[in-house]
Symmetry: C2
Subunit: 153 residues, 2 copies
């Protein structure tokens, strides 16, 4: 195993990058997610999607975000206690995800600092980008994540 | 039917509010989402969750966001062409969603303006809050959504 099982803030560095993918996206994935969480014709039904502004089936932006979380888990150094999100600072969807797309994730640590209120905790800011197979971004977001601090010996 | 089938920007107003809920959250919902999109012990397994920082099963923040999208669809005036998100300006999770919670959604239109680049389109800014049954916020976000403009007669 190349990665240690449990990382702390002290094991990370600003500028560090991590990546994952590909993750295949199918019609069934798109429609199953959409029927539960975003039931609109352009997400739930390939035939009805033809009569929408998109003209074809596309994934819900929240499905793309969920798939991105999956890739973040695969990409990230495993943190002691897990990955606990504090906030998303901005998220946008430059283009839609479509059936047959393959998604790739890249993260870059923008900032790392100790928490003022909790000495056991650090705060990490990450630039996250999800790309399709043509290296076109489909989701961009900046996240702020709590990270554990290494206990003093 | 009290709501018209298709709304345009011209049918909306700054300050307008819309709401939906309750939406019941079960253990199975939480673990099914997490196994697909956010496989961490505090989201996937009630027994293993006991040994995590949370001490119990909690929903993935992205699951809470997905459930919020479901409530947004239920709450919103149906827009001609559907709800098409441009961006999330900030999203945070003040407290976790747990099995047995009932979620409620409230939206408020903060701003409405014509698009500079596309005369058929308006841009709506919305304050979105998802509450649990104790009226504690579990997700807060500001979204920017494209809305259609009424065609000139």
């Amino acid at each position: 195993m190349s990665k240690p099982v449990e990382n702390y803030m002290e094991d990370l560095a600003v500028g560090q990058r991590f990546s994952a993918g590909p993750l295949d996206v199918t019609v069934d994935d798109i429609t199953a997610y959409a029927k539960k969480y975003d039931p609109q014709d352009f997400h739930t039904d390939p035939a009805r999607a033809k009569n929408t502004v998109f003209g074809e089936l596309i994934a819900s932006g929240w499905h793309t975000a969920s798939l991105t979380m999956r890739l973040i888990i695969e990409a990230s150094p495993p943190m002691k206690g897990g990955m606990i999100g504090r906030s998303v600072e901005r998220m946008n969807w430059p283009r839609p995800v479509k059936p047959g797309d393959k998604l790739y994730f890249e993260g870059e640590i923008l900032d790392l600092r100790a928490s003022n209120s909790n000495p056991d905790r650090g705060i990490m800011r990450v630039k996250n980008t999800t790309f399709n197979q043509n290296r076109e971004p489909v989701l961009e977001m900046e996240t702020v994540v709590f990270v554990p601090r290494r206990p003093k010996a």
